[in-house]
Amino acid sequence: MYAFNFLLLSAALFSFGIYGVIARKNAVMVLMSIELILNSVNLNLVAFALMNNSIDGHVFALFVIAIAAAEVGVGLAMVLMIYRNRRSIALDELSEMKG
């Protein structure tokens, strides 16, 4: 029961994140949503680590945080470039990948 709360919270965060990625038009908001997803995963990892009395999950979570930081760095840089080129960061206007 104790772990259930953590898992519920993390599932909620995950869902918000998914919603943000799919529904938001602003690229910055999408990046923030991805952060939410990653953090919900972190929460899960820590929760299971507590349950199993193992430190592995904690270490893993630290890794995820570091990678998330790098990912946000790259993502923001891309957003900045897109903004410079198009004066807009609205994702629905970006359809160059159309097949």
């Binding site: 998914i18 990625v21 799919i22 529904a23 938001r24 038009k25 999408v30 994702l91 629905d92 970006l94 359809s95 160059e96 990948m97 159309k98 097949g99």
Partner: protein, 818 residues
């Protein structure tokens, strides 16, 4: 020998076997390694250096010479302090080896086997190579492949050095083949001319023919003795530890075939004179101490194999393969030397002839004499070649033709002339020169060991040697200057000059002599036009005339002087006439008997204990070696009793009476040849005048003459008969097979393939394959079009699809696991 030499006063005795030691002896393996390293340095860095890499070559040879000299000194000091009461000098060889490779139970090593013979050869090769390198810096100066010349020359010396200190047959073959390769490169050094590259190929292939024997013989040695270690082979052969005498005989024959090829012995000698196409320093190195000596050296190195295998010195034997080949070679080559116009070719045939002496010496059991002849011959032959090069370089416009471009130059080239005369005297075997002591010992041994035929061959050869060298000397240095030499001498050359006077006499002997191959040229040669052509040709080509006020530069004359001094001085290391046996004592332990057992066949005592022919077992010889026979030896016993195949008889005791016939014939040869030369070349009236023109007047003599001029038709035999007989039918058969069988198969296969191809194209390719390809293309295109709407380019949509797919996957996972 009986008398302990004067050099070696009896300070210490009782040491039957001595240990030779010292830094130089233990590190003698460096001697070939230094030039080998220098070869790579010259190759990689030579061109960037101011002297084109020759400094590496010269420095390397000097380094080798220093080590060789040190090793010689240490060897001598070990032998002089170790000899037994009988006066035998037995010092163990210094053998050091590393395992190079291994195959099953056999290990093949690289290293050194230093004993008297190896020391002698090392010193000789390093010394002569150094002089030749010095000489070359002047002689090939400005050559377009100067650097490569020195690289090859250095590697050549390295190959010979590696061969002479080989501890086993594998290293020996390695050195042997390095030399073969380098001789090819050096003979063909000026390969732009067809003749030179042909000569190089001929040398290479002729030697290769013999080399097959080396490989076969080495394999047989391994089969018989189970080892390729030279010291072990010698010990086992000498001790009779082999199964079949017959097998050993064939081994000796196979190995001797290699020596025939390498040392230019009779049927395969044809490459040696052609090898004159290379630069003169190469010829001198090749003919004196390296390459051609390798064959003789191999026989001397594993002498027990030959001695036991061919029953040399067995009771009642009057001929054996080695002696026969040597004897034939020395006579044939001496005869051929008479009809040469090219000074280098005269010397080349003389080398062949002297190698015949060495082989004959080994064949009759005169090991020491033969090895000593290697030693002395190297000096005077090298000197003669360098003198010829000096004449050509300075006086004769790079020509070597004695009849066209030489004559009368002795006044202006005192050093060259002096060196030439001293070396010629040594080559003829005039008393108190080096050649006399070594050659006389061979001839004397042949008589003493009852090889009577070879005794006669030897003294007749001495006569011929004296005669052809006198002819060459007359043509080169005396008479009136001709051609380039006339120009050099500053003489207004006379178109009716001495030799060319013959043109007015069509039946003149020497006319036909030199010019058999180009009769057509001579036919219109009315007034010695060769002179004018040579002269004018040079002038119009604007070549700088090598007009030197005096002799050649010091880099050329210095080696000449040194070698001429040695052509006399070297003989005094082993002069039986003066009771000097020093060289013999230094090398006698190398004859190849089991030194471990302390027996000695080189000494005189072997004559004595084996009066009964049954006592051939070496252990008995070993038992007999300590002392009791010393007294018998002192007497200088003349009687010779054959001592069987397991012992080398002692050299005969020198007496002037024994040497006299040979010496008389030498004197006769000089006189006859001198007057004949005057009669033929200078048209002086003397008792030989009636013989002038005999070759054209007398049919049999003319036939003999053209037989000699055409080199016994051996080249014809090889090229026209053997090569053609082998090559033509095979080529024809191969052509027929090619046309009918292979082409038939190829054509059939081609036709069938083409038909099949047509059918495949129409049916499989067009229908099946194209159908499949088109169908898959269409399918891909259609499905692509169908899926195109999904690729909207909207990131959000992609995200939704991704998560949707992940969600569906998760649900499936849960359902399936649940």
């Amino acid at each position: 020998m009986s008398q302990p030499s004067m050099l070696l006063a009896a300070e210490e005795s009782g040491h039957a076997i001595g240990e030779a030691s010292g830094w130089f002896l233990e590190n003698a393996w460096l001697i070939p390694v230094i030039p080998a390293v220098a070869f790579f340095l010259i190759l990689f860095f030579g061109k960037k250096l101011p002297r084109g890499g020759s400094e590496f070559g010269l420095a390397a040879m000097l380094g080798s010479l220093v080590i060789a000299a040190g090793a010689t000194w240490q060897w001598i000091s070990s032998t002089t302090s170790h000899y037994d009461e009988a006066g035998n000098y037995e010092v163990e060889p210094v053998i050091r080896e590393i395992v190079w490779w291994q195959s099953g139970p056999y290990e093949f090593g690289l290293g050194q086997h230093i004993d008297g013979l190896a020391i002698m050869a090392l010193l000789l090769v390093a010394f002569i190579s150094t002089l030749v390198q010095l000489y070359s810096t002047e002689y090939v100066n400005g050559d377009r492949r100067y650097t490569h010349y020195f690289a090859a020359l250095t590697l050549f010396s390295s190959g010979m050095l590696a061969m002479v200190l080989a501890p086993d047959m594998v290293q020996l073959i390695l050195g042997w083949e390095i030399m073969g390769l380098c001789s090819f490169m050096l003979i063909g050094h000026w390969w732009e001319e067809q003749a030179n590259s042909k000569a190089a190929l001929k040398a290479f292939f002729t030697v290769r023919v013999g080399d097959m024997g080396l490989l076969v013989g080495t394999a047989m040695l391994l089969a018989i003795f189970g080892t390729l270690q030279i010291s072990e082979i010698n010990a086992l052969a000498a001790a009779g530890e082999f199964d079949s005498q017959n097998m050993l005989m064939w081994t000796a024959v196979a190995l001797f075939i290699a020596c025939i090829g390498k040392s230019g012995q009779f049927p395969l000698h044809t490459w040696l004179p052609d090898a004159m196409a290379g630069p003169t320093p190469v010829s001198s190195l090749l003919h004196s101490s390296t390459m051609v000596v390798a064959g003789v050296f191999l026989v001397a190195r594993i002498y027990p194999v030959f001695h036991v295998g061919l029953d040399i010195n067995a009771a009642g034997q009057s001929v054996n393969l080695i002696a026969a080949i040597g004897g034939i070679t020395l006579l044939v080559a001496a005869a051929l030397a008479f009809v040469q116009n090219d000074i280098k070719k005269v010397l080349a045939y003389s080398t062949v002839s002297q190698l015949g002496y060495m082989m004959m010496g080994l064949g009759v059991g005169a090991w020491t004499g033969a090895v000593f002849h290697i030693f002395t011959h190297a000096f005077f032959k090298c000197c003669l070649f360098l003198a010829a090069g000096s004449i050509s370089h300075t006086a004769a416009h790079h020509s070597f033709d004695m009849k066209k471009d030489m004559g009368g130059i002795w006044k202006k080239m005192p050093v060259t002339f002096g060196a030439w005369m001293v070396s010629t005297a040594a080559l003829m075997g005039i008393p108190f020169t080096a050649g006399f002591f070594s050659k006389d010992e061979i001839i004397d041994s042949a008589k003493h060991f009852e090889y009577t035929w070879f005794y006669y061959a030897g003294i007749i050869g001495a006569f011929m040697t004296a005669a052809y060298m006198t002819r060459a000397t007359y043509l080169t240095f005396f008479g009136k200057p001709r051609g380039a030499a006339a120009h050099y001498m500053g003489v207004e050359h006379d178109t009716h000059g001495e030799v060319h006077e013959h043109s007015a006499h069509p039946d003149e002997a020497e006319h036909a002599d030199g010019h058999i191959p180009d009769h057509t040229v001579d036919a219109h040669d009315d007034h010695g036009h060769d002179d004018d052509h040579a002269h004018d040709g040079h002038a119009t080509h604007g070549r700088p005339l090598p007009f030197a006020p005096f002799d050649s530069p010091w880099k050329i004359t210095a080696p000449l002087i040194i070698l001429a001094a040695l052509a006399v001085g070297a003989g005094y290391l082993n002069a039986p006439a003066l009771k000097i046996y020093w060289f013999e004592h230094q090398t006698e332990s190398s004859i190849g008997l089991p030194i471990d057992h302390g027996d000695d066949h080189g000494g005189e005592e072997t004559e004595e204990p084996h009066g009964d022919e049954e006592a051939l077992v070496v252990s008995e010889v070993a038992a007999g070696a300590n002392g009791p026979f010393a007294s018998a030896a002192e007497g200088g016993d003349h009687s010779y009793e054959p001592s069987g195949p397991y012992a080398v008889p002692a050299p005969p005791v020198f007496t002037w009476a024994n040497a006299a016939p040979g010496l008389i014939l030498v004197a006769l040869g000089i006189l006859v040849s001198w007057f004949a030369s005057l009669a033929v070349f200078a048209r002086r009236k003397n008792p030989f005048s009636p013989f002038v023109g005999l070759t054209t007047r007398s049919r049999p003599i003319g036939a003999l003459h053209s037989f000699l001029v055409n080199k016994l038709y051996l080249d014809h035999l090889y090229e026209k008969v053997i090569v053609r007989a082998v090559a033509h039918p095979i080529a024809k058969a191969a052509y027929w097979f090619n046309q009918n069988v292979i082409d038939g198969i190829v054509n059939t296969v081609g036709t069938v393939t083409r038909r099949l191809g047509g059918w495949v194209y129409r049916n499989i390719d067009q229908r099946v394959v194209d159908g499949a390809v088109n169908a898959s293309g269409t399918a891909a295109s259609e499905s692509g079009h169908a899926l195109q709407p999904v690729q909207s380019g909207k990131v959000n949509q992609y995200g939704a699809l991704l998560f949707g797919a992940a969600g569906i996957g998760a649900i499936l996972l849960i359902i399936l696991n649940g």
